[in-house]
């Protein structure tokens, strides 16, 4: 009798430990927090999103306020339409804020940075971010630089 009791206690301990381990891993070693709040979805269209991926963070003043959930192509304007799931805590962001695509980190992951505007009305579910700034593409930058340099040197020649 005593032996079966020990067995039962050890088995119970094992089961509790197993579930506790799964719980700890799920809560403290994953991005579970970004799934917590229901939040609201807004969209923004960019002429070029560079290397932005879904699940990329959306930050305001460096604080993560949402995540990119969907990237689609507008068939008429050929703009990239980025759907952002905002965290429900941040429900007082002016609706004339600017969204820009920025680069961070060692591997150059891209994220969406919001800079707040001055409007009295706030972004809400279904809003469209009006002011956007596309990703900087290195090749285009170099091209611009070269053509500018060419112009100024030809002007200098005149």
């Amino acid at each position: 009798m005593k032996q079966t009791r020990t067995i039962e206690i050890v088995t119970g301990f094992f089961i509790i430990l197993g579930f506790a381990a799964l719980y700890v891993i799920a809560t403290s070693a994953t991005n579970i927090k970004s799934y917590g709040e229901a939040g609201y979805a807004v969209t923004a269209s960019f002429t070029n999103i560079g290397g932005l991926k879904t699940r990329a963070p959306v930050t305001l003043a460096g604080v993560e306020v949402g995540r990119v959930t969907k990237i689609a192509l507008d068939p008429k304007t050929f703009n990239a339409v980025v759907t952002i799931q905002m965290n429900g805590h941040f429900n007082q962001i002016p609706d004339d804020s600017t969204a820009s695509i920025l680069t961070s980190g060692l591997l150059g992951e891209q994220y969406v940075g919001l800079s707040p505007g001055g409007s009295d009305s706030y972004l809400k579910s279904g809003s469209v971010v009006q002011y956007t700034q596309s990703a900087l593409v290195l090749e285009n930058l170099i091209g611009q630089f070269l053509s500018n340099a060419g112009k100024s040197s030809s002007q200098g020649g005149k």
Binding site: I25, T30, N31
Partner: protein, 256 residues
């Protein structure tokens, strides 16, 4: 010509074993409701299969995590990217190493025990005795062990992962002085609850079914001799390992 014939028989034997295993699984599933009606039997087997593997799983998990921490640190250090160490450790454990290594250890520790136990019951005609008493040995002997294996595996994988991440943390942060904040914040940012954690759990359940099924199948159909039982035990380990690695590839290809 002879080679061809041998290959033919090997393929045929493989198909036969796969089919027999599948039929056995169906037989087992039919008894699931009745087996769940006697949870005492299942929990006793959870003790044998799961709780007894606990120390082995925890020690292995700790060392695997520590090795990952060391190897990851040395490699990442070349690119001055040691802040990504947490991600490397957690992702490799949750997605691959946790389920696979636990399943291989499980096959060696618990699978062999199941096979030899059931095989010896067969050899000493205990199973035949049960049939004489109108007790179905699949329901009374095999089914609780099978369910216990399926229950235990995800729990063991969870423990393995938790201890593994702890091992990586110990080596990375305490020994190699990786910044503690970047270690955890990188994990929080890059390990996805659905994509990484959930698919690891799915893997562990599939491996649990596969390993336990092979173990009880080999035991139940072992030749009732000393040599037969020993062969069945060997086959359990070999087939479980092959099944786990092959299934791992398939699941990874489907899920990621």
């Amino acid at each position: 010509m002879k080679l061809l014939r041998e290959a033919y028989y090997i393929v045929l034997g493989f198909l036969q074993m796969l089919g027999a295993c599948g039929i056995f699984l169906l037989k087992l599933l039919r008894f699931t409701p009745q087996a769940l009606g006697r949870p005492g039997l299942i929990f006793q087997q959870v003790f044998n299969v799961g709780a007894m593997s606990l120390v082995l799983i925890m020690v292995s998990g700790l060392f695997v995590g520590m090795v990952l921490g060391l190897q990851g640190f040395n490699t990442l250090n070349k690119f001055a990217a040691t802040s990504a160490l947490g991600t490397v450790v957690a992702l490799s454990l949750l997605r691959e190493l946790g389920p696979v290594v636990t399943a291989l250890l499980f096959a060696g520790r618990a699978g062999t025990a199941l096979t030899s136990e059931i095989g010896l019951m067969r050899a000493t005609e205990q199973l035949a005795g049960m049939e004489m008493m109108a007790v179905d040995p699949i329901r009374r002997v095999v089914m609780p062990r099978f369910l216990a294996g399926v229950i235990s595996m995800p729990l063991l994988v969870g423990i393995f992962n938790a201890v593994g991440v702890l091992g990586g943390y110990l080596v990375g942060v305490k020994l190699m002085h990786v910044d503690i904040a970047s270690f955890w914040s990188q994990i929080h940012a890059d390990v996805d609850l659905h994509e990484d954690f959930r698919s690891g759990v799915i893997k562990s359940v599939v491996f649990g079914v596969a390993c336990t099924l092979i173990a009880v199948f080999e035991g139940f159909y072992a030749q009732p001799t000393a040599e037969g039982v020993s062969r069945a035990t060997t086959r359990t380990v070999v087939n479980s390992a092959l099944a786990v690695l092959a299934l791992d590839y398939l699941l990874t290809a489907f899920m990621f």
